[in-house]
Point group: C2
Chain length 327, copies 2
DNA sequence: TCAGGGGCTGCAACCGGTTGCATGAAACAT
DNA sequence: ATGTTTCATGCAACCGGTTGCAGCCCCTGA
């Protein structure tokens, strides 16, 4: 149905190879010929068939983007940025959602591997060992996980955690809970490492928790029982769920307990109380991940490691510690 | 690098066509041979190359999914469901985001057209005329837009709007604002049509508004000026933004003004006040859209139209109309 | 005048599958 | 014993591009 390279060749009186070169190596063809071919192609509505091109070049011009859960508001800005960047580079993006299941994640990588030139692994739940094994099948860029020998983008959530805890101690909080995330999460580990390394804080670690508002709701009881006055939650969803759970039990935020989230998602900005949160540079990470991946195709470049800064956005969910904390 | 069909053929002592048939038409090959081939294939880690297959069959086994804005929480559950369903059917999904721009939407469809077997158009902003023209290039399933001659999935937001307004009038509200959405939005038109057709309501239509919390914030002033006591917003983001805007101006929800949203996104459930909202069956729509699309490949079936019910979830953002309305 | 070289184009093999047709063997009917 | 099916497999063309190689033309320098 659609015009092929041969149609264009016939209509413009040149050989198919000339048409091919007109598109993939324009400098090799005479300007006059090139223009004629382009005109005819335009006229016929010709577009190179990517499948055919992929067959000979071995390049699909597709990339895969694997996230734990599209519904987690942390990811869409990243996906959006990655997709826009890819499009600007003439690449298309397959998005896949693992439902937080490492098993599914592995399968997805396997099936995607032959379909794409590379994969963006965002906040993977797989172990490093498995990731390294799969790396033999397809190039990766890993976001928010440190895997040796692979291009990596990290958001410095350890720094963010420190800022959050300093903020809390600055408000007089001494006993602080850290709500950790899924066990496979690098982010969670970083937060924990940063938090435990800090002085002047009694740290209570609760979790692992599901990285959802449900996870926050579920841990509210424990938070109250732990006697803390400040909480750093794995992410904003957990923070929001926690606030809800506390509220249901008559504990108020920030009056009784201060809560800090991570990710600075829109919902947190709109919530009441507005959430104090560690902002993550997700859009920048998405763009950079795509560029790093494409770059890794061209050169046999040494894998880059980029660390992006995070910062604390103070809003209404944190306040001075109560003088007489609840028992 | 990776094993090809010829490697498998050589290693199992049969012709490539037999290997091919083993995978794509198993019933045509002797059980014994088939098992041998499968064993060898397994052994070599052979996986059919989709690009090559696409070249001869004309089927890519990919589908495109186009949404206005991935960051709009309405879409992720739909995307997630569609992607899971597609995967179950051995299809992969390209997700693309148009940034609410009809121009970009058209370009995306054009470039995606050759790469996929069909496209899911979710809440398109393009005109029906353009959609019909593009339909010549690639099969569509349209979600939340009525386009003749195409498989369509509608969420009955008109019914939802009626339920919302009945709910408000039942609480004593007489003068109600409808915050309309983007001009290309079918959903917005349906809501408007349903609302204007209702008796016993003084309807004030405001907009079009951007379908974001920013859009809601921006229209707060106008809402107050209009003297309404109840509001039906284009979606939850607008509703949340509006509540924020009203709050900034000292108008409280639901005490002074009642607000109903649409979509029933998670953020709305967590917001305070928790949002009364029209719930949309997004996940079901996503699954069904995929099935309708695949179905449209096989049979030259007459395009189906499916209408999915919506329902009202009453929470805290609506209450009895104030006896002495402001204004 | 002729060798050498650069610029442009054509030729044809190739990428990894699919599929209509031919072939051959076995099974069955007559 | 012969003709007819049926079943399984091989053969080879084809999908729509890409690319190494060869050939041609024309320009340059000796």
């Amino acid at each position: 149905m659609a015009a092929t390279i041969r149609d264009v060749a016939r209509a413009s009186g040149v050989h198919v190879s000339t048409v091919s070169r007109t598109f993939s190596a324009p400098h090799l063809v005479n300007a006059e010929t090139r223009n004629r071919v382009l005109a005819v192609a335009e006229d016929l509505g010709y577009r190179p068939n990517r499948a055919a091109r992929a067959l000979t070049t071995g390049r699909t011009h597709n990339i895969g983007l694997i996230v734990a859960d599209i519904s987690n508001p942390f990811f869409p800005p990243l996906i959006k940025a990655a997709q826009a960047q890819a499009r600007a580079r003439d690449y298309h993006v397959f998005v896949a959602d693992t439902d937080e299941d490492p098993q599914v994640e592995e399968e997805l990588i396997q099936t995607l591997a032959k379909q794409v030139d590379g994969v963006l692994l965002c906040s993977p739940r797989l172990s490093n060992r498995v990731i390294e094994r799969l790396h033999a099948e397809v190039p990766f860029v890993v976001v928010n996980r440190r895997v040796k020998g692979m291009p990596t983008i990290l958001m410095d959530v350890g720094q963010g955690a420190r800022l959050a805890i300093e903020h809390l101690t600055g408000l007089g909080h001494r006993r602080i809970a850290l709500l950790s995330g899924p066990s496979g999460s690098w982010t969670s580990g970083e937060m924990r490492a940063a938090a435990t390394a800090m002085d002047g804080v009694e740290l209570v670690i609760l979790g692992p928790n599901a990285p959802t508002e449900r996870g926050g709701l579920a841990v509210a009881e424990e938070v109250i029982a732990s006697g803390v006055t400040g909480v750093l939650a794995y992410n904003d969803l957990v923070a929001i769920g926690l606030i809800e759970g506390l509220y249901e039990r008559g504990v108020r935020v920030p009056d009784d307990i201060s809560v800090v989230g991570v990710d600075d998602i829109v919902a947190g900005r709109l919530n009441r109380p507005k959430l104090t949160s560690v902002a993550m540079p997700t859009a920048a990470a998405g763009r950079m991940a795509v560029d790093l991946l494409l770059q890794s195709f061209d050169e046999g470049a040494t894998p880059t490691l980029a660390t992006l800064d995070t910062h604390l956005v103070v809003r209404e969910s944190t306040d001075r510690a109560a003088l007489f904390p609840r028992g």
